[in-house]
Amino acid sequence: MTYFYPCTRKKQAFLLALLLMGTGAAAQKKVFSKSDSTKSVSNDATERLKQLPVSNLDSAGYIRNTEMMLRQLGATSSPDLDQARKLPYIGINSVLAGRATGVDVRIPSAEPGKRNAIFIRGASGLLLKNGDIFAAQPLYVVDGMPLQYDHAFAYDIQRFDFNRIGTEIDPLAFIDVNDIRSISVLKDAGATAKYGPAASAGVIEISTRGPRTGELRVEVNGYAGLSLKPTLKVINGRWERDFRLPFYDKYATAEQYRSFPAYLADSTNAQYYGAADWDESYYRNGLMTGLHAGVSGGTRLASFRFGVGQSTLQGQDNTLMRRYNVNFGINITPVKRLDWSTYLSAGMINRKRNQSLRDRMGDQDYILNLDRPPSPNKTLLDEYYNYLEEGVDRNRNTNVRVLNNLTYTFSPHFKFNSRFSIDYGQNFRDLFIPSTVNDGNNFANNFDGLQTRMTLDNSVEFNRYFGKHHRLVVTAGQYNQWDRWRYMYGKAYRGKSDYIKIYQPSSPGDPNNGSHNLRLTANFKDRIRAALASFYGNIGYDYKDKYSVSLYLRQDGSSNVTEDNRWKMFPTATASWNISKENFLRESKTLSTLRLRGSAGRMGKLFSLDYYNGGPVYNVEVGWEGTPNLSTYNAYPVLNAAYELGYVAPGIGWAYTDQPNGGLDFGFMKDRIRASVDVYARTDRDMLLKVPVTQEYGYSGMWQNGMDIRNSGVELTLEATILQQKDLAWSSALNASFNRSQLLALPGGQQSVVLGNRRFEVGKPVDRFWLLQNEGIYATDADVPSGMTYQGIAMKGGDPHWVDQNGDNVIDDNDRIMEGSHNPKVQGGWANTVRYRNLELNFLLSYAFGRKLINESLAARFDFANREGADDIGAVKEVFYWAEPEGDLDRVPRYNPWSAVSPYQVNQTLFLEDASYVRLRSVTFTYNFRSAWLKERGMQMLRLYVTGNNLLTWTRYRGGDPEAFSYFGYDQGGYNWAQPKSFTMGFNLQF
């Protein structure tokens, strides 16, 4: 099959192209320079720039094609970058937290440089495991170039679901905030449709500071600061013993007494009953620095910008992140009418990871001896760190991006644009764990991941005014995208010596040569390719800047969809009405802006895996729990129908997103008060889901189209310039996003499905925990209602009183309720800027209300009977075990921990807690030097600032930081690092 044109609907596509071409004629020059009438005014970055003190306004350049790309329609939100630039943010996602409407930023651990996630208008799709986060991420677009995100497929060979093998470096950390001109979060179809199916989960559109015409200008930015060591209540074995003994006194049998852990039994043991001062080594005041310089300038025929930056961030547990990045951009006009831009960007990030036992055991897929936890003693922790120094843990990501854009202007109204980009990323890890800290067996592994994306976009554009007021813009184009992810992973157990930190397997015949026994090494190789081909056309009409409508049609073909369903047409329509330009409002003194916007569109959604395009598949799956990667039987390779992966239903088609969006923008008193409201309902339809099927055919489930999930909500922004005097100015911006999600349909008309420890029911939210409801404790056997069982086990005194929802005297899954969600009902931020003469104060409060979390680490503390010394990854104790558990211990009833009903299981309302919060995310004091003073010294801008981050938090949550929890709403205590309090000082200079 050849796809020169879309193989289906060829005729329609052809007609569409004809229509688009035919209607195009003369164009109008101003089109690009004037702000688009459908743009939501209060979110407008340029508008905001106008509100800033003059000295802050920098005239950054740009990559020329971005003007074509960045014309925005529909619902967008732009964070105040000028403030964010002063803050010690490494990744883009941190910039957005509390600053952009409709964005939920998730940083499960503040480990420097570690991958995190954001969700725009709620998660699109079900999030059941860490690998699902990848595909739910929005598309990041830099200067019109869609970046390639990491792929989750390496999880396939892993036994534990926490870190993916590889570096786990934040793929968005390459972009230096100082190189960014603006960030927009595109949310509705009207704004995102132009980026095609990759953009169905929203778009983070970044425009960098590109080449600039004018005199040579140099900018230098720098900061340095400290993150503060937290204070916590450290404990030693005595605390833990005192905590456990009451349970023993009350419930334990002689046998259970006998298995009282030895390390707690002996109070003369200095290792566990000695000083608890591990925190002095584990935590530290972390240093953070950043330095960035840029040069730009040139003529109309050739201009450039060159930027270079470096930043360092230290964290607890000896972690560290260091980034170097270089950008170079050039705009030239080699011949008349041809604009050529090339932009090259390269970066490297090194990361020193945390040294938790759990992560190391995950890295080597091997559970070490768990008889005794690490000691709470500093000397022993230092010793552990020293031993690890003998090992190796190199994590390095490198990234190179090349963007090349050609624009040829045939006539004032007819343009051709061709854009080509390459995004190349490498992800490299080298690990060696010495035998001294690893039960006597060392471990080596290396991961070499490579990802490339190539895109090509060609388009023609016509612009024309009919008469004086009718404007028509027509675009037609074609887009191709090639993606490739691959990795090589090798691991080797038990090398001959700790001096040899690499591995060279022995030959099969002679296990004694080489550094490792061949049978104790394993190598994995995997790759995924995907391609996307699209044809698109847009027709926009505008009357007097009052009414505008646009229709965008796109035909997408994806290699991951079955051949019969490969091509699909996706339309998007947008309209806006600028009511304030109508005569009846034109004279209004109070209402300066009133605009009604609306968009509705259908966009494709890409599948991230390549399994689905050809019906049922065969795979190698003869491993089992704990041993997932066996591939042979008696040395012969095997291939079986993919029972574990699931039955891939034949004829899988596109999943897609329907999203209507309505918006209203207001401006009062010459836009001194601006407000905007957006209402949306984004429905992801026909998504793939592996639904459990009759087990007697061996399959773990069937992959099928047919899951529909709706995220609907309201977004509000309110901005006001409260004071605007010569010496004193005060502006304030408040944003709030409400989102709720709902499951609309499951494949095959099913009404509910249980996946893992969650239940999903049609008509109900998709993000609820599935919990047993606690109602105290059965103090004695007599208190237990007669015949009450827990899944057939008679309940006794000391067991939890769980509510028997259906009254059948049996507590089981039918008595679980869908309750609470880690997705807040409302979240947002409140930013304030107060300027007095040259002094400026800025602070940002961010908040989330209606969020509930499960305090899993507290549950684990109480569940010691099942976890003590168990040979299980869930039983691992880290050094941070030696801190008083965070949570309301008195609220938890003293159940019989040895009871077979597993009284301290995690999923019960007992551990569900409100985690709403308000946080003072940042405070900044800035001193702006007067421009006259600067001019005398040949400078354009100089400002000095001091910042404070995460200084105050108001929350009722007792389990620690309300923002530090896993992607699924479980607070795992010490594994979820809170974002530290920090102070920095820095400067921006331009001359």
Partner: protein, 494 residues
């Protein structure tokens, strides 16, 4: 000049459009589609051996083989793990992740499904690939039939009535009710008959069913690892015993005994039984059928073997094993001090928790200090077991002296004094049971023996009424029940 630029742009654009050509036809490198499978010899090899692999995976998954066959009988004492304790106490509806796994039959049905698939597809391959001869196909097919028969037998022992599915699923996942176990066993028996007809006694190239090297390897590579006539007959004998047709079983065992020269089956000394190159390494004449693990093939694992539950310091780095046999129980099970197994099956007898030391397959390459990769094969059938089964059948069919001789031969071999011919028939049956228990401890037999010898009430807290009510079976998993409304939970577990 301008024309050059325009021309260039046109070329660029054309390049973009024409590159769509075939760009979307990307085949997965990670999975094979239906149309690319079952066409060549390699497909046949990989697809048929997957049946063995899946069966091994089902048995190893959370040590299901021992959870099903050993734990419930209660001879092992649990140290800490609540889930193991729950199995030991027959609380099989408890809420543990592992318990879900043991209740769940999906992985066994995956084996069945793969067998059904291979049985449907293998016959077509010789026509597509001339390198794959019909005889070789018949041989692979017979092995697959054997695995299907064995898997059904295994499932009947664990769950009782199970849905009998013998055809490839059509993607509609039609629900089927549980088939009465006798029907399933008859199917398994007949399948075994079909398999036996095409299987050799050994894969040594000297039998009409299999000539030359099988898949390029000689008998040393295949001994006791692949399905043979002997393995098929042993399976049939066990099916008959489970159905209480002792004469039927005896007749089958006799066939095996009569073909001793062809089977090569032999008894094993205690020393060889526990040695690192012994029974649990396998490929030996005392093994009739084993599911293989092998260090030299890197088929080793940290989970899935009984060692994971029974070994502790100094052999592996943990202070306490998950389970052990108490000293009292050991002395109760092995009352005679002369028993050679007493000192070889157990070690550290002086401690509170002696270590079960019969199976401890750690290759020298992972010792000192131990890297926990075990490589013990699951020995499904071995000759000693068959001989004791024969003794049982002889006794039950009235051949007292034959049974006594067989038993005393076994006892003598383990350095036990003979049972006198003055014992009653009942006592002799009990002695056979006790010898089986001693010989096969830790090999996943005791629970099934309790069932076939009718000793469940004696050894567990279950009453005869419970047994009659289906307590000897595992409950059907909640997942299976909820997905197939035609399944009805076993009475006892309702």
């Amino acid at each position: 000049m301008r024309k050059i630029w325009i021309g260039g742009l046109v070329v660029l654009m054309a390049a973009g459009w024409s590159s769509c050509k075939n760009m979307l036809d990307i085949e997965s490198t990670r999975a094979v589609t239906e149309e690319n499978m079952w066409a060549t010899k390699n497909d046949a090899w990989a697809g048929s051996f997957a049946c063995y692999g899946l069966l091994r995976a089902a048995m190893c998954n959370e040590n299901a083989y021992w959870a099903h066959g050993e734990l419930r009988a209660g001879q092992f004492t649990i140290t800490k793990r609540g889930d193991l304790q729950a199995v030991r106490n027959n609380r099989l509806t408890s809420n543990y992740v592992t318990m879900d796994t043991w209740r769940d039959w999906r992985k066994f049905y995956a084996t069945i499904a793969q067998c059904n698939l291979a049985i449907a597809k293998l016959p077509g391959i010789p026509a597509l690939d001339e390198r794959y001869s019909r005889t070789e196909m018949e041989l692979d097919l017979a092995q697959v039939r054997y695995i299907r028969a064995f898997t059904y037998f295994y499932m009947v022992r664990v769950w009782g009535d199970v849905p009998l599915i013998t055809e490839v699923g059509q993607g509609d996942f039609a629900t089927l009710p549980r088939t009465p176990q006798n029907e399933v066993l008859e199917f398994a028996f007949n399948e075994a008959t079909n398999a036996i007809a095409k299987l050799p006694w050994q894969f040594d190239g000297t039998h009409p069913e299999q000539t030359g090297n099988y898949r390029g390897q000689g008998i040393s590579h295949w001994r006791s690892i692949l399905a043979t006539k002997g393995a098929g007959l042993t399976l049939q004998a066990h099916i008959r015993v489970w159905q209480k047709d002792y004469q039927g079983a005896l007749d089958i065992i006799q066939v095996i005994r009569d073909n001793g020269s062809k089977t090569g089956y032999n008894i094993v000394s205690v020393t060889d039984l526990v040695s690192n190159s012994g029974t649990f390494r396998g490929r030996r004449n005392e093994n009739i059928f084993q599911l293989d693990m092998n260090f030299d093939h890197a088929e080793i694992s940290t989970t899935g073997q009984i060692e994971n539950w029974t070994l502790r310091a100094p052999d592996v780095s943990k202070k306490e094993a998950e389970m052990y046999v108490t000293k009292d129980s050991i002395l109760n099970i092995f009352p005679l001090a002369s028993d050679l197994r007493l000192t070889t099956f157990f070690t550290d007898m002086g401690s509170m928790q002696p270590m079960f030391y019969k199976i401890k397959m750690l290759n020298d390459a992972v010792k000192n200090p131990t890297l926990r990769f075990f490589n013990s094969a699951i020995v499904v059938f071995r000759y000693e077991e068959l001989l004791l089964l024969q003794a049982e059948c002889q006794l039950r069919t009235g051949n007292f002296s034959g049974a006594l001789t067989l038993l005393n031969d076994r006892r003598g071999n383990r350095n036990l004094t003979p049972v006198l011919n003055t014992v009653s028939e009942e006592q002799l049956l009990d002695e056979i049971f006790r010898e089986r228990r001693r010989e096969l401890i830790g090999e996943g037999w005791l629970w099934y023996d309790l069932v076939t010898f009718g000793k469940v009430p004696e050894f567990t807290g279950l009453s005869q009424a419970d047994v009659d009510n289906g307590a000897i079976y595992w409950p059907v998993s909640r997942a299976a029940l909820s997905l197939n409304p035609k399944l009805i939970q076993t009475n006892y577990w309702k």
